[in-house]
Symmetry: C2
Subunit: 390 residues, 2 copies
């Protein structure tokens, strides 16, 4: 069930921020009082909105309050390389339940999507919903947003052009939308994170790969073929390591899960870090997480790895900040848990190398949403769709 | 005189593309036939639109044609570092008259703006207008768009925070808007150039400096503090020449009017180019234009200078294309007249270094509008304002 016209859509999006009196809504939209009431009454008839008592008097007659229907339920599915998260929210996108499981993306779409649907089923059994009004899905790779399918995703064998949107929509019996993980994290920050009051911002995710969500005027900017924000293969310099893409000196070839693991292993073998050498001997391999733990213990070689990586992220980001002049930059993702050493290095390079006009008032911060950015953003994505005129 | 509501604004912008029958307009807008006629009749009363005879029959009664008032006049003023251009257009932004004069920006705002107004006066004396409905102004430096004033413009002594918009608006007795030269060139391309059907594109101007106009969804994207597109100080590498900004290896320190003149002089003195040596001896100095002429004559050293510059522009542009995924890149400005050698080098680097998804369908072209891009864009800027609800 979707709104019938643009006025109803505006009202639903306002109510997504919380219930309001009719008088308050009248102050916020460009509609006559009688037209406003017609639209609200119609939304109540459609089951999208419900009355919610009377507001405090503002001097005259008390105004009726309205809110989104208490029955409204959205689901968010956030599929990562090694995990799947699902959540159910109400119409205001408050998380009512959240489940997470390890899951290998390489098991393919049939298995992985079945896991997600099964997890959602558990939330249904807990009584959190009977019928979903929409589901948003995030995938760790390039997605054709209009078609709702992954497109040549490098770390997702078997997923290329699999009809994810169609399959999940059919399975759950509600509208579905699919986007890449970075875009849904950016939407999560826009809805519930540090970007709430910011129209134009960047969300840089540093994890297995490096990607960027671009928000222009409160909406995801996807570019003409949907690849906007794909910054992992931006050149840092010509003499750097060869990247999986075939070029040399790409950002991801320097910094990202695989590059960090490789550098950590080299450091461990060289004897420059007793901690990493010990971890390597014990576990047989090293990960970005090991570098983070080593750095937190004051391991000089690990801190140097993070600083070097931060400097390269900063160099790329400095260019993007000069070009895009955002109001905020949020750093997120697994490697972002390397924390304040990383942030300090990124800041230092961006503030030095970008134009003063672009950085004079630019906060560069670590995400505070953590793991829920993706699922909240996924529900935001689908609710933007459901709360738009059909 | 501006439209009274959003419907009238939409109709005016449609008519800016050319006159139409009421029936055709009815097919293009989301208005009932009777409401459409009310709004059109009101626009005729306001003097913004006029009747224009009857359309061919589409089967039934012949529909009345309408067009923008023949009295509508916009002016564009494009102030460069060494020249001033003015033009007067009708409501559809057809150029009715265009004058250009050499003029040194360093003479300061009072002198330069007086020159522009005097040039426009000549067009008035030719009978091209009696009253202007709006004027758009482009300046070769950073502009605070909301305030209509230049902000610390590096090559414009005496202009910092000079109230350009206010002064010109008062002098000409009509609304005025001021923007930087790159943004108005981008608007010119959007209105009359190669970008007519493209929502998201980049206009890269290579002249005395290097700048970029960013168009998102048919509108200039200015960033949160108005500095978006200021790409001249993006890092190419760390070991490059020291830039006027204090950093090293900026794009402008490699390529731009001053860098080209410097490299040409070095080449001339080294004896690697007899042509440039001769020009240097004759003129006492060399410019980017000399490099262009030498390259056109097949001078190997000049062609190498252009190739090296094109490679660096290409490296920066490759990053921006991966990030922004535009539908078109237009290269413009004085140095762009270096032409196809430059274009070939830029294309080669961008197509090799950007993501295949972003370049698969990406034309990179030289501007075909040339000198009029700025003045047409300036009239587009002000007509967008005049043709929006007040």
């Amino acid at each position: 069930m979707r709104p019938e016209n643009a006025h109803q859509a505006v009202l639903l999006r306002l109510l997504r921020e919380g219930g309001r009196s009719r008088a308050e809504l009248g102050d916020m939209v460009d509609l006559s009082r009688s037209k406003l009431n017609v639209e609200l009454d119609r939304l109540i008839e459609l089951g999208l909105v419900e009355p919610d008592g009377l507001a405090e008097s503002r001097g005259g007659r008390r105004s009726g309050k309205v809110r989104l229907s208490r029955q409204t339920r959205f689901a968010g599915i956030d599929i990562g390389a090694t995990s799947v998260d699902v959540a159910v929210t109400d119409g205001e996108l408050n998380v009512l339940g959240h489940l997470s499981e390890p899951c290998d993306i390489r098991e393919g779409p049939a298995v992985v999507l079945d896991r997600a649907v099964t997890l959602l089923g558990k939330l249904r059994e807990q009584g959190l919903y009977s019928q979903l009004h929409g589901v948003g899905i995030g995938l760790p790779g390039p997605v054709s947003f209009p078609e709702g399918v992954p497109v040549v995703p490098p770390i997702m064998p078997g997923w290329d052009r699999y009809p994810v949107r169609e399959a999940v929509s059919e399975e759950l019996g509600c509208p579905a939308l699919v986007d890449n993980d970075v875009n849904i994290m950016a939407l999560g920050e826009l809805h519930a994170g540090l970007a709430r009051q910011v129209g134009d911002f960047l969300l840089v995710k540093i994890g297995t790969g490096v990607g960027c969500g671009i928000v222009v005027d409160g909406k995801i900017y996807r570019g003409v073929s949907g690849s906007a924000g794909d910054i992992g293969h931006i050149r840092v310099d010509d003499d750097g390591p060869i990247c999986a893409c075939g070029n040399s000196g790409c950002l991801e070839a320097y910094f990202g899960g695989a590059a960090l693991a490789r550098e950590a292993t080299a450091v461990a073998r060289s004897g420059r870090s007793p901690y990493l050498a010990e971890r390597l001997a014990a576990a047989g391999e090293l990960t970005a997480q090991d570098v983070a733990v080593a750095a937190a213990q004051g391991d000089a070689a690990a801190i140097q790895i993070i600083r070097d990586g931060g400097r390269r992220v900063g160099q790329v980001l400095a260019s993007l900040v000069s070009f895009f002049n955002p109001g905020l930059v949020i750093i997120a993702g697994g490697v972002a848990r390397l924390g304040h050493v990383l942030l300090a290095e990124i800041r230092s390079v961006v503030y030095r190398r970008s134009l003063p006009l672009a950085t004079g008032n630019l906060p560069i911060v670590l995400s505070e949403l953590g793991d829920i950015a993706g699922i909240v953003g996924a529900t935001r994505l689908i609710s933007d769709h459901v709360y738009s005129a059909g």
